[in-house]
């Protein structure tokens, strides 16, 4: 596969605050790549560097092997679908979409033909004369996509394009974006903080945090083989506990030694152990590898989400079997339910279900401080 965009050791700071910290990234032709991370992780800045709206403080941005650090946006074969679309309010749908073609001074008939084709692709035929301010969010979104695609860029950048849409429309648009990407063969670089959106649309996911790339991989890789506690926690739900690698395929955590499928660690190396909530089986006490007390049960529709206290550590388990609060249960883990990660700076920060968000932790901390 051909590399279309490369970031080489790129750093960027705003007002002395590091936003991107030595990023290396390859983007291949014709892929749907998603930059995923919490707000402030540097994903939008990465996108703006590729679009040409920012220049790196150090490092290089390459386009088909050529350095484009100082190439202005209008000379890059890269177009952007902006957050909240940035449609031109003084132009109607047709003129918005025709905007780049008019700049290229194409003949009138050619412009009309191309705009008609593009509006058909985004399913807006018949909307040509509409005022863009009077369109719904989804329709504005389509105009923005049509406008960005009409001059056939090599790369389309999408900055949280679905953030303003309601859930159902969002799911439809995800599917449609994927179809448009396949139909046009244009590389899509998509920015989102929604992990579900990233998993369902992307060929490649780039997980970012604190200005650094945490992991690059396919959605399945990222979900099943997270590289550190941050990725494991950010993508899906995870119980992350401290463990010790006894030997290849043998790990000890929560007071029990398990068979697992990971190898290549040193003897007795401390590790982070990830167990996804859906991979834990509830069994009678005597068959359990671990035992714990149920502290809460939440009905989620398809399954129950239960919190189990195992030696003081709160696990989340998703099950279709009903259990009662305060019941003591046994837990059983298959070897492939266990994923081992090297210790990282994020160890110990995530994966305990005493509360779901950091914010609640901080709030209760503040409360106990106030009590003192």
């Amino acid at each position: 596969m051909k590399k279309i965009i490369e970031l080489r050791d790129v750093s960027k700071a705003f007002d002395g605050e590091t936003v991107l910290d030595h990023i290396d990234l390859d983007i291949y032709d014709n892929e749907f790549l998603t930059l995923l991370g919490p707000s402030g992780c540097g994903k939008t800045t990465t996108l703006r560097l590729i679009g040409g709206f920012e220049t790196p403080d150090s490092g290089d941005v390459l386009f088909l092997g050529a350095r484009i650090n100082d190439t202005p946006p209008h000379k890059r074969s890269v177009n952007t679908v902006f957050q909240r679309y940035a449609l031109f309010p003084h132009l109607n749908v047709f003129d918005n979409v025709a905007f780049p073609l008019r700049e290229q001074r194409l003949p009138k008939t050619e412009i009309e033909e191309k705009v008609r084709e593009m509006l058909a692709l985004v399913k807006l035929t018949g909307f040509e004369r509409r005022n863009v301010a009077r369109l719904s969010g989804g329709q504005q979104q389509r105009v923005a996509i049509a406008r960005a695609l009409i001059s056939r860029p090599r790369v389309l950048l999408l900055d949280e394009p679905l953030g303003a849409l309601d859930l159902k429309l969002r799911k439809d648009m995800q599917q449609e974006l994927k179809n448009i990407q396949k139909a046009t063969g244009i590389t899509f670089v998509f920015v989102t903080h929604d992990q579900e959106e990233a998993l369902s649309t992307s060929d490649t996911i780039v997980v970012m945090a604190e200005g650094r790339i945490q992991q690059i991989g396919t959605p399945i890789d990222i979900y099943n083989e997270p590289e550190n506690a941050f990725v494991a926690d950010f993508i899906g739900e995870s119980n992350i506990v401290d463990g010790v690698m006894r030997a290849d395929y043998r790990v000890t955590f929560s007071g029990h030694t398990f068979a697992c499928v990971d190898k290549g660690f040193q003897k007795n190396e401390p590790v982070d152990v990830v167990v996804r909530p859906e991979d834990v089986d509830i069994v009678p006490l005597e068959r359990g590898m671990l035992r714990g007390v149920v502290t809460s049960v939440t009905f989620m529709g398809v399954h129950y989400e239960i919190i189990v206290d195992i030696n003081g550590f709160k696990w989340m388990i998703q099950t279709t079997d009903f259990v009662d609060v305060d019941e003591e249960i046994g837990l059983y883990l298959e070897p492939d339910a266990i994923h081992i990660m090297k210790k990282s700076e994020y160890s110990g920060m995530f994966g305990d279900y005493s509360s779901f968000s950091m914010e609640l932790d901080e709030l209760s901390d503040a409360e106990s401080e106030a009590d003192e």
Partner: protein, 295 residues
Amino acid sequence: MSRAPRERRNARVARLSLAPYSVWAVLFIVVPLVFVAYYAFTDNSMRFTTENITKFFTATSTVLGEDGSQQVVRTYMVIFWRSLKLAVISTVICLLLGYPTAYIIARAAPRTQKTAITFIMIPMWMNFLIRTYAWMTILQDTGLLNHLLAALHLGQAHIIGTEAAVVIGMVYDYFPYMILPIYSVLAKMDTRLIEAAHDLGCNNVGVLRRVIFPLSLPGVVSGVTMVLIPSISTFYISQKLGNGKFFLIGDAIEGQYVANNLHFAAAIAFILMVILLIAMALMKRFTDSCVRGGV
């Protein structure tokens, strides 16, 4: 059931709270306008007449032409066209100077913007008669400007008493009224629209021509209106900086008023008002279609 009366009562309260403003508006805006119209269409004994109006269009006087021959001209038409010409020239200069200034200020850092706008507004806090006198002392044949030119051995410039002096005075006096509305539109403009235009293939000139300027037209229209209208009816600047040689429509109104020809003064004011209203309506139609239709 209780909803409707309450809503009606609320509407009544709302109307009542507007009453002081309404009284003020009627007393100081509507009543004077009605009086202007009333005086314009009556004679000294308050009988209806259109004589004042026709006089504006038909009154003639004899002037000395450039070749020394005597010419008969329609007095007030000449004055009106002269006022219009000087006002349009001043407005165009204000626009050509004001738009780039407003643009540069709007692109500056927020602190710089505040300072620049304050500096532009400071002269407005001074009485405009004083500002006009200041320009007299600058432009006089023995004034500051000529002292400066002499010091630089650049000769003399005779400006006072020319149309140029009147235009300079008008541009100076009304310049802030051009900058401020354009600046406020440009400063509020969404920077993502500018980025989008760059992204879609425009260089800086293209962005200015195809996005920034069309979107700033409402500011340009209010700037032009706020400069054109006062400068077309100005009267003091022409007397002081034009040495009274360029009798403008404002001077005509003032002259007739001072001479106690209230009815004719009212007629001139009335005609001017009607012409300006028509001009503004046309301008609004033009910009509306421009803003909607795009490039």
